[in-house]
């Protein structure tokens, strides 16, 4: 595959740009564009684009999505951008949000032996209770001040922030605009995930993951080399 036809390059670039612009290409809405990915030459060119731009195309049976590879600063967010986006004052608050996202993934996709979707809906209350029980375990552990000092941040600072807050305050009308309760942090995070097209919220408290989220989690993370890469982030510390 050395000499590509200009038409294939044009189609591959059109597919790439459409994907970047719309975040997804569905078979239903854009059948021609979607099917062009099946063409071996276009698919080959797309793989070059993917490598060079640091993204990865994910394929569900009727939709194409893309994901920026880890630490892609162009297509991904920096911590600062994410703090601005979600309205957090510092990284401890932002990390709390990461914990919430990780917990949503656990609740939806931690199957017995493989990462299938094990539920269709998650209640905000159940999510709050799960995170609280997990972070209470951090508090219950013996204090390890050495790690605290060496790293500035640690998990204990996040669990303290979470556990010091009340779970819920009925006076608050708009949780995604507030920060005083655990539920507020969950709603802020969900709002961001909604904007990213990853989850939907129904009846004010029922979280549903979208096809995009399902495809990303089920297709991206379990692949063996990526799994090793992800786990190595933790081992490196």
């Amino acid at each position: 595959m050395e000499n590509f036809s200009p038409d294939s390059v044009r189609k591959a670039f059109s597919l790439f740009m459409n994907l970047i612009e719309k975040s997804k290409i569905s078979k239903k809405d854009e059948p021609e564009l979607f099917m062009s990915y099946e063409d071996p030459e276009i698919s080959y060119i797309m793989r070059i684009f993917e490598e060079e731009s640091g993204i990865m195309v994910l394929h569900s049976s009727d939709t194409l999505y893309y994901t920026p590879r880890t630490d892609n600063r162009f297509f991904g967010f920096t911590n600062e951008e994410l703090r601005d986006k979600m309205g957090f004052a510092n990284n401890t608050e932002l990390y709390l949000s990461y914990i919430i996202i990780l917990s949503i993934i656990i609740k939806f996709f931690n199957g017995e032996n493989y990462n299938n979707k094990i539920r269709t809906m998650l209640n905000v209350e159940e999510l709050e209770a799960y995170i609280t029980s997990k972070l209470q375990a951090v508090e219950a552990m013996e204090n390890n001040e050495e790690i605290d000092e060496a790293l500035n941040f640690n998990f204990r600072s996040i669990s303290k922030l979470w556990l010091d807050m009340p779970a819920y305050d009925e006076k608050i009308k708009n949780f995604s605009q507030s920060k005083g309760t655990r539920i507020s942090y969950i709603y802020r995070t969900i709002k961001f995930l909604q904007e990213q097209g990853l989850v939907n919220l129904d009846n004010d408290s029922e979280i549903y993951t979208t096809d995009k989220m399902d495809t990303l989690v089920i297709s991206y993370y379990p692949e063996s080399t990526r799994k090793r890469e992800i786990l190595s982030f933790i081992e490196r510390i």
Partner: protein, 525 residues
């Protein structure tokens, strides 16, 4: 207060035929209640074992074998408990269990048990007789033989897995019977049920496809292939049956339309309208069923496609987000920074890609928001509905105009001649309309309606019209509405006080061979 009563009335509608439904439920409750008391083998699930005895009795009945005795049941139990629980029962013990199960299910082998319940529809305590097995043969001092009663067979039938798959087919058979017997109002209700079942089938297939996409590695391909061929076969049967039902409906319609106009009763006209509605609803249901057949049925294809995608994405391993990630952070109190690297592939930052072009300031402003998109979409739907309504209105208007021309001719005869004949009124029509009338069912219907109305008194017209809501269905001919329109067009006809069409001896013969009584038209000014 009225509203509350109205609500209660509607809510309580669901209790209709409560007794019938309870009589279906009662055998199950009876079985569960009675079988739970056997203490000797605590680890044995007596409901399953007792139920298996019913299946065993049925099996003996089906294969033409001699119906089973208590010793046969005891042998079966001995085998079953050894196989499932590794319990070795003596002959005596297995007989004891067999008798216990028999007595639980049916007293001493055949007595009727009363199942008491509160009938919430009538608000009375009632009872339902239950008899699941019966003795088919006995000789004193010899072993009796047992068989299932109809009720027992029905219970087993309802537990078959295949039952739900055949639901559409069973409803179709029921619908066919209703149509054949001419119970069209009941058939309408059945079509609604059928529609619901087809929608449920769609949900079932969609969830199956979703399950394949989300959980492709957990699915057994052989099971899936079997399921696929079963569903496909069932679909074909249902399709054929829909075709049959449509054919029968068509025949019914044609039969009614063949009836000579003067023999047409009001009842037949009503049936014709019901058939019309029924056909329309059935068409919608069939179309949805066909759509499912064409679009959703490639289950095996979906499976293979998903497997292929998964293979293309590389070797999958299970990543335990909780134990390998969350718990590790917690247990050694790590710096949470790597969480960002772990989660970042989920998010895409499109905002950073935008670059401002100064020349943008010179372009006309175009504001596009999601809300506008939604509006546009809803407008499109509204537009489509409007178009459909418009088409229907136009169709109705065309028909009204045609029937008005027939009616006007009759009224003119009544007005100018006082007493005349239908043939004279027909002579007032132009050639095209005359030819149309000769085979137009609407013309015959109109004449029958006028005849059945006997003496039409126009002084009541205003009163009737003020109480009447204009029927918008395309089928009905609303003569009062048409009278009013004709009177508006030809005000002199308002001088007519009454109109009457009575049978006469003569007939009108059209060129196409159709005949109609040459009714006498009488008008009084």
């Amino acid at each position: 207060m009225y509203q509350r009563n109205d609500f209660e009335g509607t809510a309580l509608d669901c209790l209709k035929d409560f007794r019938q439904r309870m009589s279906n439920l009662a055998p199950f409750i009876h079985l569960a209640r009675k079988l739970t008391g056997f203490q000797k083998y605590g680890e044995v699930d007596m409901i399953s074992v007792g139920f298996s005895v019913l299946l065993f009795v049925l099996e003996n009945m089906l294969i033409g074998r001699e119906e089973c005795s208590i010793d046969n049941i005891a042998d079966f139990l001995q085998l079953l408990l050894k196989r499932s629980y590794d319990i070795n029962m003596t002959q005596e013990e297995s007989r004891e269990m067999a008798f216990y199960i028999r007595d639980s299910i049916a007293g001493s082998g055949g007595e009727v048990v009363d199942f008491k319940f509160r009938n919430l529809e009538t608000n009375k305590d009632e009872s339902i007789s239950i008899k699941l097995i019966d003795t088919s043969y006995y000789e004193i001092k010899k072993s009796a033989r047992y068989k299932l009663t109809d009720q027992g067979m029905e219970l087993l039938f309802k537990t078959r897995e295949i039952y739900s798959e055949f639901r559409i087919n069973i409803t179709q058979l029921y619908l066919k019977q209703q149509i054949e017997k001419g119970v069209f109002s009941g058939a309408l209700q059945t079509v609604n049920e059928l529609n619901l079942q087809v929608r449920q089938l769609r949900e079932k297939l969609e969830s199956l496809l979703l399950n394949i996409r989300q959980n492709v590695l957990g699915i057994d391909f052989e099971d899936l292939k079997q399921l696929f061929s079963r569903i496909k076969e069932q679909f074909e049967i249902e399709r054929r049956e829909f075709g049959n039902i449509k054919r029968i409906l068509k025949e019914h319609r044609e039969n009614i339309e063949k009836i000579n106009y003067f023999e047409l009763e009001e009842d037949e006209l009503r049936k014709l309208e019901q058939i019309n509605v029924l056909t329309e609803k059935l068409n919608i249901t069939t179309a949805e069923h066909d759509r499912l057949f064409n679009e959703k049925l490639d289950i095996v294809g979906e499976y293979l496609k998903t497997i292929e995608i998964r293979l293309r994405q590389g070797v999958s391993e299970f990543i335990d987000f909780e134990k390998s990630i969350f718990d590790v952070f917690i247990s050694i109190n790590l710096n949470p920074e790597p969480l960002k690297s772990i989660l970042s592939p989920l998010f895409t930052n499109n905002a950073s890609l935008k670059v401002f072009n100064l020349f943008k300031a010179l372009e006309p402003q175009r504001i596009k928001s999601e809300a506008l998109e939604d509006d546009r979409e809803s407008i499109d739907i509204e537009l489509a509905m409007e178009m459909k309504e418009k088409e229907e209105r136009e169709e109705r208007e065309r028909r009204d105009k045609k029937v008005m021309a027939y009616l006007e001719a009759i009224l003119l005869e009544a007005y100018y001649e006082g007493e005349s004949h239908l043939s004279q009124a027909l002579a007032r029509l132009d050639e095209n309309l005359y030819n149309t009338a000769s085979f137009d069912f609407d013309f015959y219907s109109l004449v029958v309606i006028l005849h059945q109305n006997k003496l039409i008194d126009f002084k009541d017209l205003e009163d009737i019209l003020s109480r009447m809501v204009r029927d918008t269905s395309t089928y009905n001919i609303n003569i009062y509405y048409l009278f009013e329109r004709i009177f508006d067009k030809k005000p002199e006809l308002r001088a007519l006080k009454t109109l009457l069409l009575i049978s006469g001896d003569k007939k009108i013969s059209f060129e196409n061979g159709n005949e109609i009584t040459d009714f006498i038209i009488k008008g009084e000014k």
